[in-house]
Amino acid sequence: MQGQTGAASVQARGIRKVFTTGSTDTLVLDDVSVTVDPAGFTCLLGPSGCGKSTLLNMVAGFVEPDEGEITVDGRRISSPGADRGMVFQEYALFPWLTAAENVAFGPEGRGLPRAELKRVVASYLKLVGLEKFGDHYPNRLSGGMRQRVALARALANQPRVLLMDEPFGALDALTRQLLQEELLRIWLAEKATIIFVTHSIREAVSLATSIVVMTRRPGRIKETIKVDLPYPRVQSSREFIEIERHLDALVRAEVEA
């Protein structure tokens, strides 16, 4: 993103993951391989419980695969790092810090000088339209505003990949729509690599350049679809509806299988 030379490419190769709870083993991901285009907007789409979050958490470095590996720009991932920013569905803002202090958390840790830090925080708050809310604590902000702060916090740290796990899932329909539009604007401006988890077909078609459809558990890759419709996408356009129908059939087959 800003200040980065190009966006990162992410690859998952032969990923397998088994979760063990008590005496039962659950195979969650089985031989999953995905290639994420640099500067692309990739959606992971699949029925809930199919392992989307698990896969995303592996890219973040929170979960280790049992087999296979994940690389960012060819380097194998073993732990979380600043190169992979994350936006959580539950916002995960630090409630004891103001919006501005939350946004400052990443760059401050990198030892940015005070004046520079202030400038960076202001610019990212402005990017998400919250320049007037810097000194608000998260509990005084609406859900949509909180997620904007979380997005600004992740971006201010200038990650090479932005990971988003159903980030708008807890928001009402209108706020969700607004934030989708804002995210697209930011993505187009900053040329970020985004991996975005969703179970909403419409959300995926509205946003993604590439949609990775997963099967139900154990999650495998069912199909990868490239979407090259121009933005902003018109949900009533013939092409949009066609892709939506196709995806609907794919996902429906998984849920009903």
Binding site: G81, A82, F94, F105, G109
Partner: protein, 267 residues
């Protein structure tokens, strides 16, 4: 939210005033009832009137003890023990609770010890401490420190352990080092628990000081109660008890205010 605000505005000012001063009213009422009961007792002799002084008599004694410096002397003796013992407990309890909450090895070592010691009422160990440390101030201070330590340690430990894992993950993806996560995420997240632990620890100190001063003390509120028993000075016993109550209340009140101010982000 606005609904509640509207309703509040509509309430009668007299009711609002009544609610504000209700605690004062209740206490005043209780004091009057107490005095009336004592007067009735003088007439009816349910118990020997010497054993049951009214609120006015107790207030008069308190005033007299305050003037002669007797009250200050005992209060000072108790307070200094409490402050000493409590400080030791806090200085050990907070860091140990924090470290144990973050380190599985240390908590693994401490867990069994604490599980065994915790169910034992601290009072049960007081005579042992007196045997080991003598009858003077040391045993009393250590006893208070021991009792308060548990409260402070356990509350801190739980606070540090119950830090929302999502916060830790968020900090990790922002590139924070372990030390930065500890300082900037774990500590602030656990701070409300730690402060609560300190408040409860202080309350515990007051709770146990009285018992400690029953044994071999020459000053202190506990000593005052025990000593007055010999001369049937029930009024003095009550002055001591009420003083402890008032002190505990004042401390709790102040701490809660501080907490509310410190952790405004929680509201």
């Amino acid at each position: 939210m606005s609904g509640a605000a509207v309703r509040r505005r509509q309430r009668h000012p007299a009711i609002v005033l009544l609610e504000r001063f209700l605690p004062v009213l209740v206490i005043s009422f209780a004091l009057v009832a107490w005095e009336l009961l004592a007067i009735l007792n003088v007439a009816q002799k349910f118990v020997n009137p010497v054993f049951f002084p009214g609120s006015l008599k107790v207030a008069a004694s308190a005033w007299e003890m305050a003037l002669t410096g007797e009250l200050a002397q005992h209060l000072g003796a108790s307070l200094s023990r409490v402050v000493f013992g409590f400080s030791i407990a806090a200085v050990i309890g907070v860091p140990l609770g924090t470290v144990a909450g973050r380190n599985r090895w240390i908590s693994g070592l401490l867990d069994p010890i604490i599980s065994v010691l915790r169910p034992i009422p601290p009072i049960a160990l007081l005579p042992i401490m007196v045997v080991w440390l003598g009858i003077g101030d040391t045993s009393k201070i250590i006893f208070i420190a021991y009792a308060a330590f548990f409260q402070i340690f356990l509350t801190t430990y739980n606070g540090v352990q119950s830090v929302e894992p999502l916060f830790l993950r968020a900090a990790q993806t922002l590139g924070a080092s372990r030390w930065r996560i500890f300082r900037k995420v774990v500590l602030p997240a656990a701070m409300p628990h730690i402060v609560t632990g300190i408040r409860l620890g202080f309350s515990v100190s007051f709770f146990v000081i009285v018992a400690a001063e029953f044994i071999g003390a020459s000053a202190g509120l506990g000593f005052l109660i025990f000593e007055s028993r010999v001369y049937f000075e029930v009024d003095k016993m009550m002055v001591a008890a009420v003083t402890i109550g008032a002190l505990g209340f004042a401390f709790d009140f102040t701490m809660k205010r501080i907490e509310r101010r410190l952790f405004r982000w929680r509201l």
